[in-house]
Amino acid sequence: AQSVTQPDIHITVSEGASLELRCNYSYGATPYLFWYVQSPGQGLQLLLKYFSGDTLVQGIKGFEAEFKRSQSSFNLRKPSVHWSDAAEYFCAVGASWLDKVIFGPGTSLSVIP
């Protein structure tokens, strides 16, 4: 069965520092991969997605993610974090034959001024 793991439950970074949030998935074929962000008390907003093609994907708010098939990973990165990036981040995986996506448990990001 498909699954998604986000090894880091909580990460704290200083404002201006670089960020990498890890995501690993378990799936036999090339998956659809997503990163979402959720601010407190809000719905989820799509940051970026990968379906095929270039393995480095650019998203909104200065985020990018790289699909590495050999490592079954889709890590999210940002070169310089802003205080407004503090939020919950969810990785998700889907497949062409599924009617749903599978969400990871989330990583909570705190930003120190």
Binding site: G41, L44, F90, G94, W97, K100, V101, G104, P105
Partner: protein, 112 residues
């Protein structure tokens, strides 16, 4: 453009009372619709999804039910709420399959 609405935004209900949460989507036809629950400090739990009117798939057996009376309307219900039903309920839509899901603003439910 497409928009998704959920109401109410916040709800406080006593244990044993009924529940009805509504989700509607505008600007698209025949969307896939999803209900998720998020307990405090927890991840997303998929409760139900629907690929068409009257078609409901249940992911987790529990005290809740879902219905899709119209193409762009998705309703989450309960006959008798439990304390454990408290949480943040999110509705989402997609064009189908594992395409990108777009989320509503959520309903915060507190059962006392």
């Amino acid at each position: 453009s497409q928009t998704i609405h959920q109401w109410p935004a916040t709800l406080v209900q006593p244990v044993g009372s009924p529940l009805s949460l509504e989700c509607t989507v505008e600007g698209t036809s025949n969307p896939n619709l999803y209900w998720y629950r998020q307990a405090a400090g927890r991840g997303l739990q998929l409760l139900f999804y629907s690929v068409g009117i009257g078609q409901i798939s249940s992911e987790v057996p529990q005290n809740l039910s879902a219905s899709r009376p119209q193409d762009r309307q998705f309703i989450l219900s309960s006959k008798k709420l439990l304390l454990s039903d408290s949480g943040f309920y999110l509705c989402a839509w997609s064009t189908g399959g594992s395409e990108t899901q777009y989320f509503g603003p959520g309903t915060r439910l507190l059962v006392l």
